[in-house]
């Protein structure tokens, strides 16, 4: 019985990955769980230079979820390499480094800075999907052609697996996924947060001081699941499902829809020990149902005719 999975060439001891932006570099959650029990941890989205993020109110609760507009507050890629990468490696979880640029040149510079550390990094996650910054990210990630051009450029600069994290804020995520595949991506991660809004009816102002924010949590899971299904049908590279995963049953749903692994995070903000509980629940599920390889579930969805 095994719950290990492969995302392309990347071997993970189980399909559970902490999603970028919900776990920092692992230090805070290490107080609540043994990180080595996780498949991997995806770092806070890194930018070329340090970023303070957005000012004012950054969170609003929604039914079964939340909006955030943190705006990529991070120490920058150089500080990450100096003080955080080794911590992530020593945690024993797989290391996914999330990279967010303001421009193509930013992505290129960061990939070139990270490439020499290929022995310590399992995959680079290209964040083409943060909705809370004005440039780069979601702007690039909305255009299949722009994605293809940038991924193919980055592909030439590193052998590290390139995972492309896509935004759901597009007409067809299958098309943006195809752009990533055409550019040479090793996997698709879907989805990042959905652009949303909340309004204070007394002040008639948005609750978030960035006016809009990214919606996450159980409320987005049906949308994420449908998108993973669409992407799995459209491309031949692996898909990492992300969006509202909160229980082992959610993991199974995403895998059946086509995901090779999943990322989860918003639930961790409410129940910080949940990710490792899901790992042990998946083991129990496989034992009780005589499933030899959990990975055999990927893409086993049978549609109604």
């Amino acid at each position: 019985m095994s719950i290990s999975v492969k995302v392309g060439q990347v071997n993970l001891k189980n399909p559970i990955i902490l999603a970028s932006g919900t776990c920092g570099f692992g230090r805070e959650l290490a107080e609540y769980m043994d990180l080595s029990k996780l498949g991997a941890l995806s770092s806070k989205g890194l930018t070329l230079l340090p970023r303070d993020g957005n000012q004012g109110v950054r969170v609003a609760e929604t039914p079964s979820g939340m909006l955030n507009c943190v705006g990529l507050q991070n120490p920058g890629v150089d500080a990450f390499l100096a003080t955080e990468l080794d911590y992530m490696v020593e945690s024993g979880a797989g290391v996914v480094v999330n990279v967010a640029g303001h421009s193509n040149e930013d992505y290129i510079s960061m990939v070139e800075k990270l490439d020499p550390y290929k022995d310590k990094i399992d995959a680079l996650e290209l964040n083409f999907s943060c909705p809370n910054v004005k440039e780069g990210c979601m702007v690039i990630g909305s255009s299949p052609k722009a994605i293809e051009a940038l991924v193919s450029d980055l592909r030439k600069r590193t052998d590290l697996p390139l995972w492309v994290k896509l935004t759901p804020n597009v007409t067809s995520i299958a098309e943006t996924a195809k752009g990533a595949e055409a550019g040479g991506a090793d996997a698709i991660v879907a989805i990042n947060t959905m652009l949303g809004m909340a309004i204070d009816i007394r002040t008639r102002r948005p609750l978030l001081h960035n006016n809009t924010g990214g919606l996450s949590g159980p409320c987005v899971k049906p949308v994420a699941l449908r998108m993973v299904h669409d992407i799995y049908d459209a491309v031949n590279i692996p898909v990492v499902g992300c969006g509202g995963v909160s229980t082992y049953e959610d993991v199974l749903e995403f895998m059946i829809a086509g995901a090779s692994a999943v990322e989860l995070g918003t639930i961790t903000l409410v129940h910080p020990t949940r990710p490792v509980e899901i790992v042990s629940d998946l083991e129990k599920y496989c034992e009780m149902n005589n499933i030899e390889e959990l990975s055999s579930l990927t893409g086993t969805l049978e549609l109604w005719r």
């Binding site: 609540y32 993020g53 000012q55 950054r58 969170v59 955030n68 903000l269 409410v270």
Partner: protein, 260 residues
Amino acid sequence: MKQEYSIQLIRKELLGETCAVLTFACPEIADTAKPGQFVNLSCAYFLKRPFGIMSVDREAKTFSVGVRKVGKGTEKIIAAKEGEQFTVLGPLGNGFCFDGVKKLLLVGGGTGIFPIFFTAQYARENGIPCEVVNGYRCKQDSFLYDQFACSCENFHVTTDAGDLGIKGNVMAYLESMNESELEGTTVMVVGPGIMMRKVSEWATVHGLTCFVSLEQRMACGIGACLVCVCKIKAEQEGKEFVHKRCCKDGPVFRAEEVIW
């Protein structure tokens, strides 16, 4: 390893129409909590809600929080019945630092009065001379007045309405204090932002060390999500501020570090 605890509400005391003190059984929090720390408490909605710890009973293994109804989540929490189960993370945050503190001036306002109660309790138990000033809107709103009055020898109240204690806000009392009695005093203040700002400016004028407990909308409460940041003066030259996490780096900060 830290955990999320399942806890039972064992006592609820309503304070007026909008506030309540809730007492929960939880040995882990009762044993380790420090003044100025908080808990993140489940409610009927998605995210937990942060509350400053109001008191702990190390023998009964309970802790209490004061809750004011400010939205749907706090409304549900106040409506809970004794015996109901909650989940909680805590104790969270840094709490007040008492190293080298010779005597204390505690200033509370709004729901900040709840964590001030714990701080006064700690000072009493540790033999630190302590004076408390609470600012209320009016006599009817003066929750915990009796508890403070019977546990603190040096307790003062101001009310905006003037129907209890000194008329005005806490500054009316602070500005009446003699310079000589302030020497060597450490100030700890928890309350609305404008109050903490005024008190910290006053403390600066008098050369007093002052700590404030900041509040911001939170999600995880453990430092992972970065939604609850506040502006703190940067040490780096040429940089005005850094965003620090209220929940993990705070909620207590030295007043002179804070950009209001």
